[in-house]
């Protein structure tokens, strides 16, 4: 079963992905398409293969079988160096716990991808500050992650994921550790900025209220997409 539909060439396309962790088949023939600028929710119960699918789509993990094509390039065949470059420049990633660097302030966390891409420190801090502003956490710019609330930390993590102007943001349960109001702020910020910047989003969630921010939903069951297009 698959999620293949539409006529325009997708920005990202996965076909018949299989991936095993030891003897467990996390993915078992999953296919999915992502159009440019689209916000796609991937839902399913625990153990349905959501996170493994995201890792394959983002080039973090190579599938055992199947193909992942991003803008004409086969991610499943690319050398690690090129994958790493794509993850730095074209993709942004956010996890359930933002995984901010505890020793750096919020603004330096957000500026880090820019420094890695060759920007100067002053420019990185200025652009990072602008992104913190867009996510409503400018006032927390000089705080370290330990001094931020869960919702603030996630908004800083989103700013870090978007600061390089990625074409796709991969978000794995970005609101999983937040209460409903903080979750709403994070999702409003994520969707609003993605729409403004034209970035596509792959949003992994077990929460239907979070999935409802997306344009479309695909639902995984036992490592495969539950039904073609019907969930959209």
């Amino acid at each position: 079963m698959s999620d293949i539909g539409g006529t325009a060439a997708p920005l990202l396309a996965a076909r018949d992905l299989a991936k095993a962790h030891g003897r467990t088949r996390a993915l078992d023939g999953a296919s999915a398409d992502l159009a440019a600028g689209e916000i796609l929710a991937v839902t399913g119960t625990s153990g349905s293969g959501k996170s493994t699918l995201l890792h394959c789509l983002a080039g973090i993990v190579r599938p055992d079988e199947g193909t992942v094509t991003y803008a004409g390039e086969r991610l499943d065949e690319l050398p690690e160096k090129r994958l790493s470059e794509l993850r730095r420049t074209e993709f942004g990633v956010v996890f359930q716990f933002g995984q901010l660097i505890p020793e750096l302030t919020a603004v330096d966390n957000v500026g880090l991808p820019l420094l890695l891409a060759g920007a100067g420190r002053a420019e990185a801090r200025q652009r990072a500050g602008e992104w913190l502003e867009r996510f409503g956490v400018r006032g927390q710019a000089e705080l370290r992650p330990g001094a931020l609330s869960g919702g603030q930390a996630q908004r800083v993590a989103l700013a870090r994921a978007l600061v390089t102007g990625p074409r796709i943001v991969f978000a794995d349960e970005p609101t999983g550790a937040l209460d409903s109001l903080a979750s709403e702020q994070v999702m409003t910020a994520l969707v609003g900025t993605a729409r403004e910047s034209g970035a596509a989003v792959v949003l992994i969630t077990h929460d239907a209220q979070v999935a409802a921010y997306a344009d479309r939903e695909i639902r995984l069951t036992d490592g495969t997409v539950a039904r073609a297009g019907v969930t959209a």
Partner: protein, 177 residues
């Protein structure tokens, strides 16, 4: 839902006529079924009959003549009593989705297919409500009513997911009942 208490609540802000009460009701409860004028006037007459509201006066403001109503002290007491009274938590479990699943099992239908299609419809409605409440300039009444609906649809979805997982067992139980 108690239309008479909602009208008393709107009258608590001051005298008002039927047309205005209908308009304010629809503003305050934006996702509710709009009140019919006939229902507003019938309810106002009953409130007057029961001593909970009274006629405040009539005026035309250049248009057709309208009767304004105000709440009485008894009406204010009744409103406070109702607003603080606990609503019975789900006294009867009667729900169309639940009924369709059971009937589908009884009649040899395909409850799994139904649940998948219903889930898709729920998600579509949840996307609409989310867009509504996150739109720029959404007022408090819209946000609150969308939140309420979203949480109830979400509860349906969780029940539907559990039911889909239980279907094998449930089918066996209904078959042997």
């Amino acid at each position: 839902m108690s239309t008479r208490h909602i009208l008393l609540g709107l009258l608590a802000q001051g005298p008002s006529h039927g047309y205005d009460l209908k308009r304010r009701h629809d503003e305050r409860f934006p996702q509710a079924r709009p009140l019919a004028y006939g229902q507003v006037y019938t309810t106002l007459q009953r409130l007057v009959r029961d001593g909970l509201a009274e006629v405040d006066g009539t005026g035309s403001d250049g248009g057709p003549e309208r009767t304004a109503y105000r709440s009485t002290a008894e009406g204010a007491r009744e409103l406070a009593h109702w607003a603080g009274e606990i609503a019975p938590p789900a006294p009867f479990v009667t729900n169309e989705i639940f009924a369709k699943v059971v009937v589908s099992i009884l009649s040899g239908g395909d409850p799994e297919a139904y649940l998948r299609a219903q889930r898709a419809a729920h998600m579509e409605r949840m996307r609409e409500l989310t867009a509504l409440k996150t739109a720029k300039g959404a007022d408090l009444a819209t946000v609150l009513s969308a939140d309420y609906a979203l949480n109830h649809l979400d509860a349906d979805l969780r029940w539907m997911a559990t039911t889909a997982a239980r279907l094998t067992t449930l089918t066996a139980e209904v078959d042997t009942a």
